[in-house]
């Protein structure tokens, strides 16, 4: 069991491209951390540097307090689950599970014991003598997990392990992976581009963009208090509405109307964020800080509700509503003061509100 410390890590490729620009984060012992971000944000590169599959250009990675920069992947006491599973196609499930142990010269009866235990945990006991190509996607996923757990490593590394599964199986496997990890208590880093997967699975959510950390925190904290406009737009579906507003004399003005009085803000442009579900039809919102009418352009029917796309004073917005809405309607909306997020327009950083 071990904490993973990533300390000022930089990755520059031979061609001069910098993929990771100084990332520092500590994943406590036993935690399940999720690295999330759009493609090219550096999340897989960070994971691969922790695994030892990429050289670390600068900075340090420590697993259980031990610097691992110079260690081979096999010596870092980690196990990895790959997106395409990377099962050895010519080996049976049993041989796939035991290959790493045999290479480490673990005693034969110990290998048998661990393989049996892992097969039992993952309910793949009946598949042990099959080849990977005779398995379904979900079964392969389990075998890939099994290969990680037989090693009893200090950390699990997951590189988008559910991307190749269909939507239903993906949801089921999320739960299974989390339950398994809680039971084993093994520190884990999980990489995904799917913010919903990240929200549902993470103890610690690490949002990355352009090779830098945007925000680290518990999923709900990140959702409720996004640190930047990038996080605000990336976490949550449909994304938060971001509206251009102005600060004049301590008052935030949206299209000339005062919506908020905030002390200590310099005059100038500001971005106001409101989540689609935080906008309610006019009168019902207590203490409305902002109220306006939305011209309805388009309605997305979801069955249990609907997403209304429209414009207010030229700015596009999305609202989640329960009531029926017709195209061309004007919708009166309001949002409470505590549901508004203020961001600096230039830097995108959250402003104290």
């Amino acid at each position: 069991m071990a904490a993973i410390e990533i300390d000022s890590v930089v990755k520059t490729y031979a061609g001069g491209v910098t993929a990771v620009r100084g990332v520092s984060v500590t994943i406590p012992d036993g935690a399940f951390a999720v690295l999330v971000g759009p493609s090219g944000c550096g999340k897989s590169t960070i994971l691969r540097m922790v695994a030892g599959l990429e050289a670390i250009t600068a900075g340090e990675v420590r697993i259980g307090g031990r610097r691992v920069n110079e260690l081979d992947p096999a010596d870092r006491d980690i196990a990895m689950v790959f997106q395409n599973y990377a099962l050895y196609p010519h080996m049976s499930v049993r041989d796939n599970l035991s290959y790493g142990l045999r290479n480490r010269r673990v005693a034969r009866d110990e290998i048998a014991r661990r393989v049996a235990a892992a097969a039992d945990t993952l309910q793949i006991g009946a598949l042990l003598d099959r080849k990977p190509r005779a398995l379904s996607g979900g079964q392969r996923q389990r075998v890939a997990m099994g290969r990680a757990i037989v090693r009893e490593p200090a950390a699990f590394l997951f590189d988008e392990p559910l991307s190749n599964l269909d939507a239903k199986l993906r949801v089921q496997m999320r739960a299974e992976i989390r339950q398994l990890q809680r039971r084993l208590g093994t520190t884990s880093i999980y990489v995904t581009h799917d913010q919903q997967e990240a929200m549902t699975m993470a103890d610690t959510l690490i949002v990355l963009n352009g090779g830098r950390i945007e925000q680290v925190g518990a999923p709900l904290g990140v959702y409720r208090h996004p640190a930047t406009t990038f996080v605000a737009a990336f976490i949550g579906s449909p994304p938060m509405n971001l509206l251009s507003a102005r600060v004049e004399g301590g008052r935030v003005l949206l299209e000339g109307a005062e919506i908020l009085a905030v002390a200590g803000l310099a005059d100038g442009p500001v971005t106001v964020g409101i989540r689609p579900e935080d906008l309610a039809p006019g009168a019902s919102a207590p203490d409305p800080a902002v109220a306006f009418e939305l011209a309805v352009d388009y309605v997305e029917e979801l069955g249990n509700g609907r997403l209304v796309h429209g414009r207010h004073a030229g700015q596009e917005m999305t609202v989640a509503v329960a009531a029926d809405v017709a195209l061309g309607d004007r919708l009166a909306l309001a949002a409470g003061r505590d549901r508004l997020h203020l961001f600096d327009s230039a830097s995108g950083r959250r402003l104290a509100a």
Partner: protein, 282 residues
């Protein structure tokens, strides 16, 4: 087919029947000749149906040969051909596997140069550099030896390129998984790469076995001791003598035995053979 044209279908069958006959006819004639007694060939009329001398002819050739024509027993020549074909096929595959592994999975100075050196062998068939190569082999004392028959022929750009292609299609994640599982390069090569390439290896073996078995000029040049004659090259020495003293039944029996092993390999492993043929031309 787009439309039903019975006439065209009939024509196609006719063409194919003719093709099959054209392909088989010379071999049938050779077979028939090998089943008759030598005296049968003194008159001008050639037989079209098998005679009754099959067992005698083949037994004589296998065990005794024809001493007057300088032909050793065929059994020995068959053995030499088998050794040569297997050694060439195995040798080419072995050194091409390791070369391709080095080129694909390592970065080292002069890697490009090594690649081009191997590529050049494509452009230097033995027929082109026959005399100096003979001199090198003679200088190394490799005349009349299995080493001389095989080693100069086992460099293979084609096989190296084939394995390079195969290795390039193996996903990186598999290599990474193996590294995390504690496998070093040679362990990875043995435990993962070779098993994953085995159908390609088998397909290539079929092609290279035929290549090795059918070698002619090289064994003809470097074997003067009839203990090292291969059957394909040996038949030429018999045929030369046949001009004056025609022993057609014996020559054709030898020809039959010379083509039987590789033809059986092709027929038995047609799928692998086709795969090997198509892949080596990529």
């Amino acid at each position: 087919m787009v439309e039903n044209r019975p006439v065209l279908d009939f024509l196609a069958h006719l063409v194919l029947a003719l093709g099959v006959a054209l392909v088989a006819f010379p071999v049938w004639i050779a077979f028939v000749a090998s089943t008759h007694a030598p005296t049968r060939f003194l008159t001008g009329l050639v037989p079209l149906l098998p005679g009754d001398n099959l067992v005698e002819t083949y037994r004589t050739m296998l065990t005794a040969g024809i001493s007057t024509s300088g032909a050793p027993p065929v059994a020995g020549m068959l053995w030499n051909s088998l050794v040569m074909a297997v050694l060439i096929a195995t040798g080419k595959i072995a050194i091409s596997l390791t070369s391709a592994f080095a080129i694909v999975y390592f970065r080292f100075p002069l890697r490009q140069l090594a690649f081009w050196l191997i590529f050049i062998t494509l452009m230097l068939p033995v027929e082109v550099r026959i005399l100096p190569t003979f001199e090198v082999v003679a200088g190394l004392g490799m005349l009349n030896s299995y080493a001389g028959l095989t080693v100069p022929l086992i460099a293979s750009a084609t096989a190296t390129f084939l394995f390079r292609q195969v290795f390039l299609t193996i996903p990186d994640e598999l290599t990474e998984a193996a590294r995390i599982d504690g496998a070093g390069p040679m362990k990875f090569f043995r435990d993962i790469m070779i098993p994953l390439s085995r159908t390609n290896i088998a397909a290539l073996f079929v092609i290279l076995f035929i290549y090795g078995w059918n070698q002619y000029l090289w064994p003809l040049l470097i074997t003067t001791d009839d203990g090292y004659y291969t059957i394909v090259a040996g038949i030429k020495r018999m045929a030369e003598a046949a001009e004056s003293d025609p022993k057609w039944n014996y020559i054709m029996a030898t020809a039959m035995m010379a083509m039987l092993p590789p033809v059986l390999v092709v027929l038995a492993m047609q799928r692998l053979f086709v795969k090997g043929l198509v892949e080596t031309e990529k």
